[in-house]
Symmetry: D2
Subunit: 301 residues, 4 copies
């Protein structure tokens, strides 16, 4: 359970407060606001503010004066058109802000998405909490054999136990020493900005992360993907559900054109056309490398 009673009561207070606004409101997002959705063993994602919704996308595409009176189905059609033709700017007109608690090694992947605004708690200034990510047994995977960057079977028996013990013990000892170095009890106490270097990459940090819908979808496309590391994918999965509630029409278009879509190379188009004409095409005959052919067959058989 990631929240202290004090934190939970602050969140409850935020959720209880309501105000009147002239701004457009997304009911799906209002229902999500402030709630901490648990992720991993100590992490969470919570939306803490948002701006716009499906209507804001179509208004921007039309540079409208008002909210418009067109049918919702027209709006969905326009949103599909914009997504299909890679019009990114109308999607940039919506904005969401998240409060995320996450292990540092996940934060290091996440921060590579540069078009976002970030405020992270500073370990120069504050003392981090004693919280580490320890994988659940079913996530303790071996190195993949084929793919240098992936997971294979789940570890079992003594090996699994050894890994869990080391992760837990090393993190505990590192944190004990972190505290002992910082202590000003009978000693000067090491500077926070130095002591933190002893903490492992599975210690939890927190940040506010704000981005526009276009870049959020770009993040989800890469991080809610099957090739993403499990520990970031679970964050992306929660954010995907939040996004679906926030902008249902944009989400449906995104699922169709991006998440469920397929990018074909010129060579891939050619092979499919030959197949549609009834030809049998082999890798040697396709112009593709073995790796490409494997990926191509993964989709088309």
């Amino acid at each position: 359970m990631p929240l202290t009673p004090d934190q939970q009561s602050q969140i409850d207070a935020e959720r209880a407060a309501a105000a009147s606004t002239r701004r457009p409101v997304s009911e799906g997002m209002e229902a999500r606001l402030y709630t901490a959705h648990p992720v991993l063993d100590h992490g969470f994602v919570r939306v803490i503010d948002y701006m716009g919704g499906d209507a804001a996308i179509v208004q921007a595409a039309r540079v409208s004066y008002g909210r418009g009176t067109r049918a919702v189905s027209d709006d969905a059609g326009l949103i599909r058109y914009l997504m299909r033709h890679w019009h990114s700017t109308p999607f940039e007109m919506c904005e969401a802000k998240f409060h995320v608690k996450l292990p540092i090694f996940v934060a290091r992947q996440w921060i590579r998405h540069r078009t976002a605004n970030v405020n992270e708690i500073s370990a120069r200034y504050s003392i981090l909490d004693r919280e580490f990510y320890i994988p659940a047994p079913e996530q303790l995977a071996a190195q993949a054999r084929v793919n240098r960057q992936g997971r294979g079977d789940v570890l079992e028996g003594a090996e699994a136990q050894r890994v869990l013990d080391w992760l837990r013990d090393d993190a505990t000892r590192a944190y004990d020493h972190y505290e002992a170095m910082l202590s000003q009890d009978g000693q000067q106490g090491l500077a926070r900005e130095l002591a933190r270097m002893n903490l492992p990459a599975n210690v939890y940090t927190q940040w506010y992360w704000k981005t526009d819908l276009h870049n959020l979808l770009g993040f989800l496309r890469l991080r809610a993907d099957a090739h993403a590391q499990y520990e970031i994918r679970v964050y992306a999965d929660v954010m995907a559900q939040i996004t679906r509630d926030w902008v249902p029409a944009a989400w449906a278009a995104f699922e169709d054109y991006r998440m469920g879509g397929v990018q074909l190379s010129a060579k891939g188009v050619e092979v499919l056309k030959r197949r549609l004409r009834g030809e049998v095409v082999s890798q040697e005959d396709s112009g593709m490398s073995k790796g490409e052919w494997r990926e191509f067959e993964g989709v088309w058989g």
Copy 2:
């Protein structure tokens, strides 16, 4: 008067609608929402959405769970600290979206601020309205003599009249021909994407422009400045008033540290220190060029 009755009634409908939200609300910004603030002869600025306020800045700086219960004066002090020490990320946590109608030559300056989201009406797709910026007589300034990039005295008499006549006649004729080229009455009609090339740089365009508070302040710092061209400064001035109503504490800090502040070079610091010790310093003796010295004396006498 820049708005048609239909546009005004759409704006009135937007202002009349109210909804309940859990999001933080800025009363100063709610009062501004949707209203078209007139600028120049046919232009306007109107806020059409926003996110956050002064509280969002301090929450981000503290990575808080809730809205916090600290005194407003504490918040203002922290905001001043952040501004003084060039901490930009907490200010990025607020966002505002504007609908702006502006002459193309102003839009061309404005667009150079790259960290913003923009949707402009497309003259490939739509037909622009017959609206041009014609300067008011008191803005019809001569080329500055000292500064190659600035205005001198106001033109008078026959010269002023000639300029106004040319601006009006050329714009009118260009627009007449634009319409005539587009017409499909007894002819094919030129493509919109080509016909638009006949329109002068003082024709009005419109866009949605969205940015975060940090970048908005950066825009205002350059464009609400006395050295900015008058025709963009009047837009920045209106946006400055809106920003002041939106985030009063951030605005006060910005006025003190940026708009009213002065950047001294190392040489400038040295000269002031010598003056404080009672020394009389001349340009020759300052290490500054003549231009720098003139600017320095403009502030310090």
Copy 3:
């Protein structure tokens, strides 16, 4: 002919100078350097500096110490892999800088690509040259009937002549008055920042434009595309040839995966799979809108 003798001799001098460098060199790009490639009636594109090449992409992907000794074919394979899997950061490690002369209405489309560095000549500071884009007769196209944003048949006869006359006469008159307003002969002379508003959107401007290879390819993907307006596409076409000479392996991958590739939606994948199984699928039965189906059939028949 876009260049004055003085400009041409400056370019010749740049091309004649050679220096020794430890940096990696792209022979294809060296051959292009500084030359003004003509575009439209008065425009040009010329590369004026560059950094990196195909090797820089693979070195960045491997975070290498040296230039590496791997075979060129290995490099090409890795570059194809990176392109196929949307790894953008290694392509960002190459940079190119262009000097471009282009009509203002083209510049207004171009500038929407925000991740670039730009220095444009300032019409607040300088006086623009008397040069306008007048379309060649075969480019004088009618408005498309189906597509609100496109061109139809070429205009002919009296209509074509009328359009050309108006474009030429209005531009000439506008420029005559621009000069007359600026003149300080017997009058004060209007400020440059004001006089420019009389110039039409087909007047030529110039800028330095610098971007990384990833963003350059993004620009080319949209602007060297058949749906782009002809007047910007001709610039993109020249830059595409330059890019091909600069980074042959990256260009080949880009042509295969982006320019010649096809993005299929989940619905499109489903339809193709049904077709591959021998099924006949109609639009009504596809889940696609009429517009989507038309685009789908455009590729797959």
Copy 4:
């Protein structure tokens, strides 16, 4: 000593190779190219490519056709003018690419500078080296008492020894277990993307980091500053020397206007003007908070 013989010989080979180029060359930067400048106990910075120099700044500001024949002193004056008036785009026309080896906790500060291109070695894909940052005894500072984010006196005696032992022992044990978890000797071997979570924040990573001169100066302004953490400042100090050799005129202007300059608030300007008139001004009387006054007095006495 951070480099293996193989790495050193790759660097030597890069330095030995020379090619002819038409591009402008910076002799100061050529002398620096590829050399690994040692930083901290195992880190380094080395420039691996660059584009442009002082001349590129002035050419961009003038949108020139050629290299120009103006005097170097004219160029320096223009560069000073651009810096003084916050013209950032001409400085963006120069680009530099660095290869950096640095502890993860330093990398986490560094990456917050978003306008840069980065390729980091991936610990999902590769196995990190057994190298940790252990502070030199004279850098083992206590937490500052006044400033929550800073260092006080150097630790001494038993406390210092304890800290060094813990840092070394915990890092060693964490790395031993990292290796043991990865091992495929008699066991499956944990996935690399999981094993890395056991490594502490002082383990070294490497990246290619590329940015333009404007953003590089922004980085140096914050990170070569006395308030920056020592462990990032030493990197910034080396890069500052490299930058000085690369663009001497821009660097001189930067030192005068930014590094050695002072930002005065409106209140600060007012206080100085009163002092120049001979008045004695106290904090109570200044309108400044105690913190601001302390900082003000730090400069002006």
